[in-house]
Symmetry: C2
């Protein structure tokens, strides 16, 4: 039993170490080509795709954006992003619960993002596993929605610990749900004292100016 556990832990470490090696290769390629990459992570249904489609529509004239789209199955999200005007590659993971650095490498090979552009990675909807897998991205943005409850940063701290920015989405629904914004922000800061937090509504538009300002400040100038 102890041997099985040790072996499982050892194998997990090997899988992560292999991923970390590929992530470093991605990071180096992305830096060398002047491409800014954001790994978007959240629970299923927090609004990543709606946020991305709107971001593409609003900033498409200003930034060159392409998207690596992760889902267990279907190309529903890729179709939505493509309709918004961005290049997109759909990655279907089957039973897989996260994207890994090898998958991003394959997507970059297809997308061939130009220098000065932005690549968004929309990870598989999962507030747990994607936190463990470095993709070689420059920034990690966690999206959560007010309908999920303010306790999520305390209950899923690994995801929030790994974030550069937290977007608290669906604030248009605040009048209809019990959600304590202050406790949520306190929880995110407890997991990660330096994390930025922005309340937004991807459907109604609240807070998107602040999100776009963050993105402009973080992303390189367009080539």
């Amino acid at each position: 039993m102890a041997d099985d556990t040790s072996r499982t832990v050892l194998l997990e470490q090997q899988v992560l170490a292999k991923n970390d090696g590929l992530a470093e290769q991605n990071r180096s390629w992305l830096a060398g080509h002047g491409v800014f990459t954001v790994n978007l992570m959240s629970s299923p249904g927090s609004g990543k795709t709606t946020l991305l489609a709107r971001t593409v529509r609003d900033l498409g004239g200003e930034l060159t954006i392409s998207v690596a789209e992760g889902d267990q199955e279907t190309s529903i999200d890729a179709d939505r992003i493509r309709a918004a005007g961005a290049e997109v590659v759909q990655i279907n993971t089957g039973t897989g619960c996260h994207l890994d650095a090898g998958m991003l490498a394959g997507a970059l090979h297809s997308l061939r993002p130009p220098s000065g552009s932005v690549v968004f990675v929309e990870n598989v909807g999962n507030l747990v596993c994607p936190a463990l897998f470095d993709l070689g991205e420059r920034c990690r943005v966690v999206v959560m929605s007010v309908t999920e409850g303010e306790d999520k940063p305390l209950k899923y701290p690994h995801m929030f610990r790994a974030a550069d920015l937290v977007l608290i989405n669906k604030v248009d629904l605040l009048p209809h749900v019990h959600f304590d914004m202050r406790r949520c922000v306190d929880g995110a800061r407890r997991a990660n004292p330096k994390v930025g937090v922005l309340p937004v509504s991807a459907t109604r538009g609240d807070g998107l100016d602040a999100w776009y300002a963050w993105l402009r400040q973080a992303a390189p100038a367009r080539a």
Copy 2:
């Protein structure tokens, strides 16, 4: 590369095989003791705990209910269930993304559920990984909420394929979100033609009579 992949797949198979063995032991113990077990699974924030707390309050005089509560961290959910009046064991998984059969065995050892009682397992909030891990439970109930969007059964089919019943929660928010109930139900049935689907609101009470009727019909008579 191919060797690494083969070895990873082999190890995953070994982990699942070991889990399946322990799940069979749980199933046999539960059947022998006349204990009915439901594995509740969903994305984070779909309302599993609210539904469970209300179920405990509403059926506590009729059914003996205890709960094995899975979360990465904190005992927030266990405290809520205990306040509702049920025996509860909190299982913290750390970075782990699902409960496994060994964890349920440990929880059953602590809970010592009496014959004729019901044990709910509230799995870690994750619409992906828990679908792969048999716990030895009698039934699997997937909770999703209308705020997550009607495409979830198509995008996360493994979870819906494994379900005996799908509860579509938070129907009180339907006037405020875009959600096509028919497409959602069609998607769930495409993944799993025989699955039962019940729309509910754990906060306002819609549909709970049907949920309780399902539970009474599925659970053994109280000892």
